[in-house]
């Protein structure tokens, strides 16, 4: 349909301006900007203002204080470990869902999204039941750093699976068949053909998962707790709020926010690169978690 529209002679440019019902484009834009400013940007401006309210020197001393720095380092390291684990297992699961057939496949496919649907505090509660001191399998990792990794693996699993899956569906199997007929083994085919084709989706999924992991709070709270050695940045911020050190909390928040924004920027760059190579377009539209799938303003055919 899109191809058809692109072929149709000249799209009437006048008609395009009429398409916003009730309000004109200008008023509509005003409403959208006001809504975003009031509900999203204004609070964030207050956060930035507060973090710098006692000067940049105070900001740095808050961020670089022992506990703050440790909590930021801890969440960075844990998030890196988690996205590495989920990059591997997420790709395997996506491969199984697309290329394999096994009983219960549609249930597995549906349950992948469970971490999106399940409240994070419930995730925390059930993880501590399974892997806590009352563990039915006798493995107690609650209130340790391993618990942080497990909780983050739980909440970020769908990001990678759902980013890779559509690319695998779209992939042309003739290439693999050709490689196989030329004598390539399974691993060579994966390394030389499948993996390069999955890379844009995998990278976007990993970046999204990383951004999510950096800020995760609820699922870590009960399971990993807030002991000095398991205190990730979000928990540290929560504790600073409770003890009334709002400037310290907002300073660490700004650093955490900056790290996540870098992730979003990377996703956008990957998408630009992907759309230039006509690869990752599909996956990002189909990713239920959505992404920075940025419509680059206006109708793409213009």
């Amino acid at each position: 349909m899109e191809a058809h529209a692109a072929k149709s002679p000249v799209a009437p440019p006048r008609a395009r301006q009429l398409r916003l019902p009730g309000v004109g484009a200008g008023l509509g834009r005003g409403v959208v900007v006001l809504y975003l400013s009031l509900f999203v940007l204004l609070p964030l401006a207050a956060l930035l203002d507060n973090s710098l309210s006692e000067g940049i020197g105070h900001f740095w001393s808050q961020v670089s204080s022992g506990q703050a720095k440790r909590s930021l380092e801890l969440i960075l390291v844990c998030s890196l470990i988690v996205v590495a684990i989920n990059a591997v297992f997420g790709t395997i699961v996506a491969w199984l869902l697309v290329r394999d057939n096994f009983p219960g496949k549609s249930i597995v496919n549906a349950i992948i999204d469970l971490p999106f649907a399940l409240p994070t505090i419930v995730a925390s509660l059930i993880l501590i039941q399974l892997w806590g001191n009352k563990s039915p399998v006798g493995i107690d990792i609650a209130l340790t750093r391993t618990a942080i990794v497990v909780a983050l693996c739980f909440v970020t699993l769908p990001f990678v699976v759902r980013a890779v899956q559509p690319l695998l569906i779209e992939m042309d199997r003739e290439m693999e068949e050709a490689a196989a007929s030329l004598g390539a083994g399974g691993f060579t085919i994966f390394r030389r053909i499948i993996f390069p084709n999955l890379l844009p989706g995998l990278a976007a999924g990993v970046a999204l998962a990383f951004a999510r992991a950096l800020g995760e709070y609820g699922s870590v709270l009960l399971f990993a707790g807030g002991k000095p050695d398991t205190q990730v940045a979000s928990i540290f911020i929560g504790q600073q709020i409770e003890t009334g050190n709002e400037v310290g909390a907002s300073a660490v928040s700004i650093v955490l926010l900056a790290m996540a924004l870098v992730c979003l920027l990377i996703i956008t760059l990957i998408q630009r690169w992907g759309s230039r190579h006509e690869r990752s377009q599909v996956n990002l539209a189909a990713n239920p978690v959505i992404t920075g799938a940025a419509p680059q303003g206006g109708d793409e055919r213009e």
């Binding site: 058809h4 505090i121 793409e300």
Partner: protein, 267 residues
Amino acid sequence: MSRATQSRWGLRFLGLGYIAVLLIAPLILLFYKTFEDGLAAPFEAITSADGLHALKLTLLTVAIAVPLNTIFGVLCSLLLVRHKWKGNWLIDAAINLPFAISPVVIGLSLFLLYGRQGWLEPGLAEAGIKILFSTPGIILACIFVSVPFVVRETVPVLQEIGTEQEQAAETLGANAWQTFWRVTLPAIRWGVAYGVVLTTARVLGEFGAVSVVSGNISGETQTLPLFVEKNYENFNLPGAFGAAVLLALLALVVLMAMNLLKRKEAA
């Protein structure tokens, strides 16, 4: 057994084992733990005054935050896709912000804006409006965290359907509202619905942002996820598990709706 079959079984073992250990086992254990001593205790906890109040408050936030973000989302998607403007990239970037921000940080920024020394505090105090530690603060937190979902689901669908039918409708004399209700909305409805489901799930389960702004007062500013936490910390496990199971059941309904809508969208 050939090498290909061997590696297939190997991958099945790894992939399905991971899903089983990480997702399925905890979920089954949740239901088992809740109901191992019978239905009475968890049921009593949910139907206690505090439990019912938490449920009502949670549903109220859904009833306000979800429609607001849906209307905003559809309007915003139409603007981003159909109306070229040099500021669109900025709107787009601002919409993605809640994905990049930790829930606690969202709570904190609202806390600072409406709190004791916040920018808006003088005016609000004078008008006698209480935002923090009351229902409006909880709703604001839920709106913030769930702003992006409808937009992110609707934009790709709008791009995909193109403008041909809308132009045809206009050529035939339909006005903007008629075109929207009869042509555009029916074409994007499953995408919008999917976004609404994701928004609802997020609002139902939001914990971090709400916990900072609500004060977590039982029977007053406690939503269901906060009810779970407080009961767990007070060692009232039947209460925590009863509410957790209720939230998990809602999550399963959300999962089913997601799958149904995906199929509709694909059809």
